[in-house]
């Protein structure tokens, strides 16, 4: 269970341009399910996911992940949780240009100290699973948008995280590729992973495997829909 209590996030607090992106969010997210956060641009979806994923800290409020409080963790422990528990798929993929797809996928595993050969085997396995084996040695900037996203998905999975966070994953994809992405997410959910997606794409929020939709607007939850 991921439990959010009174989460507020204010940027530039105390200044004239202070902006509250999230306001008193209370939410419980079951593990092993797929939750989609939907809402217009600026509604706080990305901020919320970044706080859940320990990439940023709230201004107030607490988050408990399986009863473990994560918002107070010193940075070195937060980094460990980020690395071991979460896999991130960013809107613009954030792949490193100039190196191959395989090398991009392996990067998050380096701080774990695992053997290089084992990491490489896992990265190759992930590429194989996503039908990208032939692109392993190609530089990422030469890949198409859909291929880059698969590399990003593989990178998110390299440390075998239990929670996948995807921020606007279909923003640069056509309908077919968007469906393929959602199918991959459903497969991962079936393996027991928790999927958290922020998207304003109706294709994503209405997709068959989504268990729950949470609507956000102006930093507040305005709608909750649970699929039976």
């Amino acid at each position: 269970m991921i439990e959010l209590s009174h989460i507020t996030k204010t940027f530039n607090m105390g200044k004239a341009n202070a902006f509250t992106a999230l306001s008193g969010i209370d939410l419980r997210i079951d593990l092993g399910r797929m939750t989609v956060f939907k809402g217009p641009s600026g509604s706080g979806k990305t901020t919320l996911l970044s706080i859940i994923g320990c990439m940023s800290r709230p201004t107030s409020g607490r988050i408990r992940l399986d009863s473990r409080e994560t918002t107070s963790l010193p940075e070195r422990f937060a980094a460990r949780i980020r690395r071991d528990t979460f896999g991130f798929i960013f809107q613009n993929y954030n792949l490193i240009r100039g190196i191959s797809a395989l090398e991009n996928i392996m990067i998050p595993a380096y701080p774990t100290g695992r053997k290089h050969a084992a990491v490489k085997r896992r990265a190759q396995g992930l590429l194989r699973r996503l039908n990208m084996e032939s692109k392993a040695d190609e530089r990422v900037e030469t890949l198409s948008g859909g291929e880059q996203q698969r590399v990003a998905i593989s990178r998110a999975l390299i440390n075998d995280p239990s929670i996948i966070i995807a921020d606007e994953p279909t923003a640069h994809l056509d309908t077919d590729l968007s469906r393929q992405f959602m199918d991959i997410m459903i497969d991962l959910k079936d393996e027991g992973k928790t999927i958290l997606i922020a998207s304003h794409d109706p294709l994503v929020s209405g997709y068959g495997g989504v268990d729950r939709g949470v609507g956000l607007r102006d930093g507040e939850i305005v709608e909750e829909r649970q699929r039976q």
Binding site: S5, H6, T8, M13, R57, P58, T59, S60, G61, R62, E69, T71, S72, L73, P74, E75, R76, F77
Partner: protein, 350 residues
């Protein structure tokens, strides 16, 4: 005031240290008053973010403080040529009333900053800030002492005049002088040697017992702290004498000079950490029962114990070297009339 690069650097550094320590102490007050891990209030979350910054800043302040002691002694030694009568740092420090208080405060702060760094290191190993309040109370105490030290250091450097007539180390650390330094110099060498070797042997014996059984950490810490004090007295009483090969020369500063191959730095750089590591074993014992530290503290204590014993062994080896390999035998001089230049000078003057 004398414009010397070392003096300017020490003064500027002390201003910076006091400013940083003041900010850290202010945040420390807020943490002690408002810290509540159960709360998710903006104040609490802001303090959680700040403690990381403040403890990092103070860790650098403490690290510089460790260097500052040696820089201070080096500078005092370097400027001794400007004062009539001074032969080393001992004379420079005696040039006005604030020199020795500054040295004592620097020594004390060196010790406390060392222990604080280890407490901070331990606190950072756990994810629930188990030592946060203790750490900041300790930090506030050190900050106060750093401020007092900066004040004395400022007064000392400001009060230095090139025409001051001061005393040389031979007079300051003479057995006839009725000061703490004189009393240390006049300690009976044989008895002091016995106490010194006994203290170090006991410390190492108890350290081994602690490593094997995990018990006796407080006794080890007490012995390590006691050995530090005894060792400082021993340097003045007999260890320095062997390096100088002069039975009446007890100066703890001349050993830092080139004439003695800067051996004093090796002596003090082994002795002071030995005391800090050893004392920290006892300090950490206070927190060994805390849930998040239960698995961290015992291993850390053992590493610190090994470091302390190794440093004490290194100190003992350096101290023993001239006793074993030089031709000088202190005991023979204790029985024979004193023919050192200082003694002859005193006789002539009398």
């Amino acid at each position: 005031m004398i414009l010397n690069p070392g003096i300017i650097a020490l003064l500027l550094a002390s201003f910076l240290i006091v400013a940083f320590a003041g900010y850290a102490a202010f945040t420390g007050f807020r943490i002690i008053r408002c810290w509540d891990m159960r709360s998710g209030s903006p104040t609490q979350l802001s303090l959680e973010r700040k403690t990381y910054l403040v403890s990092s800043i103070f860790a650098y302040v403490s690290a510089f403080q460790l260097l500052s002691l040696f820089m201070f002694i080096y500078t005092a030694d370097h400027i001794h040529t400007l004062f009539v009568g001074a032969m080393c740092a001992a004379g420079s420090l005696n040039a006005n009333a604030n020199g020795y208080p500054t040295l004592v405060l620097k020594g004390l702060n060196f010790f406390l900053c060392g222990v604080w760094l280890l407490v901070n290191y331990t606190d950072n190993r756990a994810e629930d800030y188990p030592l946060i309040k203790f750490k900041y109370k300790f930090l506030i105490l050190i900050s106060g002492l750093l401020f007092v030290e900066a004040f004395f250091q400022f007064r000392y450097f400001i009060g230095l005049k090139a025409d001051i007539i001061t005393s040389c180390c031979g007079a300051l650390f003479s057995e006839e002088t009725e000061t703490v330094a004189g009393q240390m110099a006049s300690l009976p060498p044989r008895a002091t040697q016995m106490i010194f070797f006994l203290a170090l042997a006991l410390t190492i014996r108890v350290g081994i017992y602690f490593l094997v059984t995990g018990r006796g950490s407080r006794l080890f810490a007490g012995l390590a702290t006691g050995s530090l004090i005894i060792s400082v007295a021993s340097v003045v009483s007999f260890i320095s004498v062997y390096f100088y090969e002069l039975p009446t020369h007890h100066c703890p500063f001349c050993v830092l000079q080139k004439d003695y191959h800067y051996i004093g730095y090796a002596l003090y750089l082994s002795l002071l950490p030995a005391g800090i590591f050893g004392t920290s074993v006892g300090v950490l014992q206070r927190f060994s029962a805390q849930a998040s530290l239960k698995r961290i503290v015992p291993g850390l204590q053992k590493r610190l114990c090994i470091l302390s014993m190794s440093a004490y062994l290194a100190f003992m080896m350096i101290s023993l070297y001239p006793m074993i390999f030089s031709d000088f035998v202190l005991e023979s001089h204790l029985l024979a009339p004193d023919t050192s230049p200082w003694a002859i000078y005193q006789d002539v003057r009398a």
